[in-house]
Symmetry: C2
Subunit: 241 residues, 2 copies
């Protein structure tokens, strides 16, 4: 009855047994190539809430794929303000922005218990020259990342931004086989606000308004989308259609 939180592929699972393979790095690889990818993937113990995978300015060694739970990546500006760049669901990669500067530019933190596959980037580069499909998928995922960031930049009202945020989460949950109409917001309001460049008070007021207008039902972190169509209209469809 309560909303589902995406849960694990257990940490011992290889790519070939992982349900996320159709979203993640192995897309397009045959069984044999997938085994070669598995060989360079490092398993890791799950992270606890607020535990960091890496921190800004540390030397870049690995990129990460979310195996279970959720992570956020945040940068801090010159005045020391933190900005949350993104939230990362199972099957999504993070750490890609560290390739160019060769050091992490963000800090990656677990929202609740969560786990990753860690991939040595140098090994991944080498393997990518041998497996064209892997290279293609890597470039494709980076391109997607560019596009995602760019679409965050378009000028929207607070209302549009929050509606689009909800819809983005919805569609990403759906891709992963979870309900696209009911899910838990794993991050606090403050983090949503920060990510969308808004005040937490505004988030609160908008959630209430959406609820009053029958678009959603929300209590605490349990979000229920009641009218997807109107929500999409409201969002200007910028993120999910």
């Amino acid at each position: 009855m309560s909303a589902q939180i995406p849960v694990a592929s257990p940490s011992f699972l290889k790519c070939s047994q992982c349900s996320l393979g159709k979203l993640c790095l192995p897309v397009g690889l045959d069984t044999q190539d997938m085994h070669r990818l598995e060989e360079i993937i490092e398993s890791a113990a799950p992270y606890q809430e607020n535990e960091a995978v890496y921190e800004a300015d540390q030397p870049f060694k690995r990129i990460y794929a979310v195996k279970s739970g959720m992570f956020k990546t945040q940068v801090s500006d010159a005045q020391g303000n933190e900005h949350i760049v993104g939230f990362h669901l199972p099957g999504e990669l993070f750490g890609l922005d560290a390739i160019y500067p060769q050091k992490y530019v963000s800090t990656a933190v677990a929202l609740g218990t969560a786990s990753v596959c860690a991939i040595n980037y140098s090994d991944l580069e080498d393997l990518s020259t041998k497996l064209p499909s892997l290279q293609r998928q890597l470039l494709s995922l980076m391109s997607k990342e560019v596009h995602t960031s760019q679409s965050m930049n378009i000028d929207q009202t607070a209302e549009q931004k929050l509606a689009a945020f909800i819809l983005t989460l919805s569609s990403r949950y759906k891709q992963r086989g979870y309900s696209d109409t009911r899910f838990n917001l794993l991050m606090p309001r403050r983090d949503i606000a920060n990510h969308l460049n808004m005040a937490p008070e505004t988030i609160s007021r908008l959630f209430k308004r959406f609820q009053n207008e029958g678009l959603i039902a929300i209590q605490r972190n349990d979000l229920n989308i009641l009218d997807m169509d109107r929500l999409q209209t409201l969002a200007g469809c910028s993120s999910s259609c």
Copy 2:
């Protein structure tokens, strides 16, 4: 105004003779490998002001490197509003955001007379598996693009955004061997405003204020940076230090 099919130009400048090689795709390639890259680069006649290189929704075939002049890329949202995603200087690539969706998501337009190297992406993928240095540089440039897009998302005042914009241009001109303290703004105020999600009036007022405070001198499009340090302080150094 419609997309132009590149035509062979007699004055085609090869990568090995191009002064932009140290910024562009050939970074890290030896002479022999650079020649292999040259083989897949298509030459094109210069574009005229406001002429489009490609338009949104066209099928993705090529990525582009700016050879001379400047281009802007713009997307249009669900309400039909145009948003300028970026300005592209010589040695910079554009069209990378089309890799994932396999169609262009933006329209690329020349600001004044400008020219490109067009690179068939499928050929580039193939060549990248054979030339590890090329693969590395391609991934590195995509990573840089991710970072650039992300840093546009941090919450800043209009003042900070404009200061950061000026400094970004300054540092990119410097990298290319031009003055970092005096250069022409090749785009109209309206385009700067659009790119930064501001009203043109605000741009105008801020330029005036920066001038009154002795940070810059500007008349028409001729911009002179008088106090780089204070400008960086103002910008929160988010884009250039």
